[in-house]
C-alpha cells in the first residue's frame, strides 16, 4: 500500500491516497505505537523500583535468618522462613494439582470426544481460571479450617490446597493444548500394534507431550507462587521458621511482603522490597526455564 500511495500528486489519479486518509492512517499508527509504549512504562518502572529498592538488603543475612525476635524498626532479619514456606507450599500445590489437571486434560482430549460432559468440564475449567484468588482462600477457610476444624491456626498445607484450586485450570489448559498437538499417527501406530488405549496414552502420547506439559506446569507454578490473598487467610502468620507444612502457621514470601510493607519503619519496608525482588527473581527464573524447555522440544515438530 505504502509504495502505491507514496507519490503525492495534485490531481487524484488511480492509486493516489488523499491527504485526509493518509493523515488518519498516520494518526492511527501513532496511537497504536503510543499504546505499546504506554504498556512498557509500568513494566520498566516496576522492575526498576523493585531492583533499585530491593538491592539494598539482598545480602547473605536475608537468606540465612528468619524474623524471629526482630521487630519492624530493627535492621537485619531475613526471609529464610518465608522462602522455605513458599517453596514447600508450591511443591505440595504442584503435587496435588498436576495429576488432577493432567488427568482432566487427558479426559478432555482422549476420552471426552467433545461429548456433553467434556464440553461442560471444558467450560467450567475456563470459568475457573477467573475465580478470584481470595475466593479460593475463603473456600479453604470455610471447608478446612472452620468445618473440619483442623489446623485452626492455619498451616502451609491449607495454603497449598487454596493454591491448587488456582493452579488446576491453567495446567489443564496447557496440557490440553499440548495433547492436541500430538500427531494422531502416533496413536494409530500404537493401536495398530495392539497396544491398549491407556498404555498408548501413558507411553506414547504423554512422553511426546511431556516437555510442553512441563512448560505449562512451570508457568503455572510461577503464577501461583506470587499469590498472596489466599495465603493471608489460611496459612496463619509467624516470624519463626516452621518447616512442617502440616502443623502451625507457616511463612511465605508474599505474606512476608504484605506484613513488612504495612510496617511504617523504613527497615521493614526495605525488607519488603528485597522480598519482592527475591520473588520476582524466582518467578523470572521459572519463566526463562520454561521458555528454554519449550524451545528445545515441541510435539509434532518431527
Amino acid at each position: 500500500m505504502s509504495a502505491v500511495s507514496s507519490p503525492a500528486k495534485r490531481t487524484p489519479t488511480l492509486g493516489s491516497v488523499s491527504s485526509a486518509r493518509k493523515l488518519k492512517d498516520r494518526l492511527a499508527q501513532g496511537l497504536v505505537y503510543v499504546a505499546f509504549l504506554l504498556a512498557l512504562i509500568p513494566l520498566v518502572s516496576v522492575l526498576w523500583t523493585v531492583v533499585g529498592n530491593g538491592i539494598k538488603r539482598l545480602d547473605a543475612q536475608f537468606f540465612q535468618f528468619s524474623m524471629n525476635g526482630v521487630s519492624g524498626k530493627d535492621a537485619g532479619g531475613g526471609a529464610y522462613h518465608a522462602v522455605v514456606g513458599t517453596l514447600e507450599q508450591v511443591l505440595i500445590t504442584s503435587v496435588i494439582a498436576v495429576p488432577i489437571a493432567v488427568l482432566t486434560a487427558i479426559y478432555l482430549v482422549e476420552y471426552g470426544a467433545n461429548g456433553r460432559l467434556a464440553r461442560l468440564i471444558s467450560f467450567f475449567v475456563d470459568v475457573m481460571t477467573g475465580i478470584p484468588s481470595i475466593v479460593a482462600g475463603l473456600f479453604v477457610l470455610a471447608m478446612w479450617l472452620l468445618t473440619l476444624g483442623i489446623m485452626k491456626e492455619g498451616a502451609g498445607f491449607a495454603g497449598s490446597l487454596a493454591l491448587a484450586i488456582l493452579m488446576i485450570p491453567t495446567v489443564v489448559r496447557a496440557t490440553e493444548e499440548m495433547l492436541k498437538l500430538v500427531p494422531n499417527d502416533l496413536r494409530e501406530a500404537s493401536y495398530a500394534l495392539g497396544v491398549p488405549r491407556w498404555r498408548t496414552i501413558c507411553f506414547v502420547v504423554l512422553p511426546t507431550a511431556l516437555t510442553g506439559i512441563l512448560t505449562g506446569v512451570m508457568l503455572a507454578v510461577a503464577r501461583v507462587m506470587g499469590e498472596t490473598a489466599p495465603l493471608l487467610l489460611v496459612i496463619g502468620f509467624t516470624k519463626a521458621i516452621n518447616t512442617n507444612p502440616l502443623e502451625g502457621p507457616q511463612g511465605s514470601l508474599p505474606t512476608f511482603i504484605w506484613d513488612q510493607a504495612s510496617d511504617p519503619n523504613q527497615n521493614a519496608i526495605d525488607r519488603a522490597w528485597t522480598a519482592a525482588l527475591t520473588l520476582i527473581l524466582i518467578i523470572m527464573l521459572l519463566n526463562i526455564a520454561a521458555r528454554l524447555v519449550a524451545r528445545r522440544h515441541r510435539p509434532g515438530s518431527r
Partner: protein, 325 residues
C-alpha cells in the same frame, strides 16, 4: 527426545502387550479412563463445593446481622449487635474495575493491533512476551509499587484532573494519593496483558481474504483494520474486556495495599478512601471474630457470584465467535 521416546515406548508397549492377554489391558483401560473421567468430574464438583461451603458458612453470620446486607454501608460484624452490609464494597468494586477497564481496554487493543499489524514480523514473539511479562509480576509486587511509587506520582495527576474536570462530581473533592482512581490505574496495568493477548488471538483468526479484499480496494492500513479486522474481532474484544473486568473485580492485594479505608460511599473518585469486596476481606480478616469471618465469607460469596456471571458471559461471547469461524 520427543520422537525417539515415542517410538521406543511404542516398541516397549508392543513387547509387553504381546506377552499378555488383552483382558488385562481392558482392566487397565477401565481404571485409567475412570481416573481421567473422575478428575474431570472432580473439577466440576470443586466448583459446586466452593459455592456450597461459602453459602453454608455465610448463613449463620447473615442471620445474626441486624442491618440489611445489601443496602448498608457500614461494616461492623464484630460489634454487638453485628451490623454489616455490602453497599460500599459493591460500589468500590464495580467503580474501580469499570474505571480500570475504561483505561485498559483501548490501550490493550492498541497493543494487540501494534503487535499483530504494525510491528516487524520477526519481533512479534518477543513483543508478545514482553507484554506477557506484565502478567508474570505478582499482585503483591504491584501493590508494593502502587503504594510506595505510583501513588506518590498519582497525586499530581489527580490534582490536574481535579482542576480541569472538577465540575464533574466524580473528579470533584480534594484529590489524594490513595484513591479509587489510583487503585484503578494499578488494576488497569494488571488486566492489560489478558485483554491484549486474547485480542491478539482473535486478530489472528481474521480471514486473510477479508484483509486482502480491503487492500485490493486501495484501503490504507488503518482502513483495512477498521473495515476488515475490527468488525470481525468485535465480539472477541468484548469477551476479552469482560475477562479483564472479572480479573479486576477479584483482584485483592494490590487494591488492598493502595486504598486507604474510609467508611462510606464517596463518589469523588480522586479522594482518598474506598474499599472493594476483596480488599475488605484481606484488610479486616485479621481482626475478624466468628461472625466477622462469616460476614467476610458472605461478601466473598457475592464476589464469587459476580465474577462467575461475568466470566461465564465472557466465555460465552468468545465461544460464539469460535462457532462462526
Amino acid at each position: 527426545m520427543t520422537s525417539e521416546t515415542g517410538v521406543e515406548a511404542t516398541a516397549g508397549a508392543k513387547h509387553r502387550a504381546t506377552g499378555r492377554p488383552m483382558s488385562t489391558g481392558r482392566a487397565g483401560d477401565r481404571i485409567f479412563s475412570g481416573a481421567a473421567r473422575g478428575s474431570g468430574i472432580f473439577v466440576l464438583a470443586l466448583m459446586a463445593a466452593i459455592a456450597v461451603f461459602l453459602i453454608w458458612k455465610a448463613i449463620p453470620a447473615l442471620q445474626k446481622n441486624e442491618a440489611s446486607f445489601l443496602t448498608t454501608e457500614e461494616w461492623n460484624p464484630n460489634a454487638i449487635p453485628p451490623k454489616f452490609g455490602i453497599a460500599q464494597l459493591a460500589f468500590g468494586t464495580v467503580v474501580s474495575s469499570f474505571l480500570a477497564l475504561l483505561i485498559a481496554a483501548p490501550v490493550a487493543i492498541g497493543i494487540a493491533l501494534f503487535i499483530s499489524f504494525y510491528a516487524p514480523r520477526k519481533l512479534t514473539g518477543l513483543l508478545g512476551y514482553v507484554v506477557d511479562l506484565l502478567a508474570a509480576v505478582p499482585s503483591i509486587v504491584y501493590g508494593l509499587w502502587g503504594l510506595y511509587f505510583l501513588s506518590q506520582h498519582m497525586e499530581g495527576v489527580s490534582k490536574i484532573l481535579n482542576t480541569l474536570l472538577g465540575w464533574i462530581p466524580f473528579f470533584g473533592g480534594s484529590p489524594g494519593k490513595n484513591s479509587i482512581f489510583t487503585a484503578s490505574v494499578v488494576l488497569a496495568i494488571m488486566i492489560l496483558p489478558i485483554i491484549s493477548s486474547i485480542s491478539r488471538e482473535v486478530f489472528l483468526q481474521v480471514p486473510q481474504a477479508n484483509v486482502e479484499a480491503a487492500q485490493a480496494l486501495g484501503a490504507t492500513r488503518w482502513e483495512t483494520i477498521r473495515m476488515a479486522v475490527l468488525p470481525y474481532g468485535r465480539s472477541g474484544m468484548i469477551g476479552a474486556s469482560m475477562l479483564g473486568l472479572g480479573r479486576a473485580m477479584g483482584e485483592t492485594i494490590a487494591v488492598a495495599m493502595v486504598l486507604t479505608f474510609v467508611p462510606g460511599i464517596n463518589i469523588h473518585l480522586l479522594e482518598d478512601g474506598g474499599a472493594t469486596f476483596a480488599s475488605n476481606i484481606a484488610n479486616s480478616f485479621a481482626e475478624a471474630g466468628e461472625t466477622g469471618r462469616g460476614a467476610l465469607i458472605a461478601s466473598g460469596l457475592v464476589l464469587f457470584v459476580i465474577t462467575l456471571v461475568v466470566n461465564m458471559a465472557a466465555r460465552a461471547v468468545v465461544a460464539r465467535r469460535k462457532e462462526f469461524v
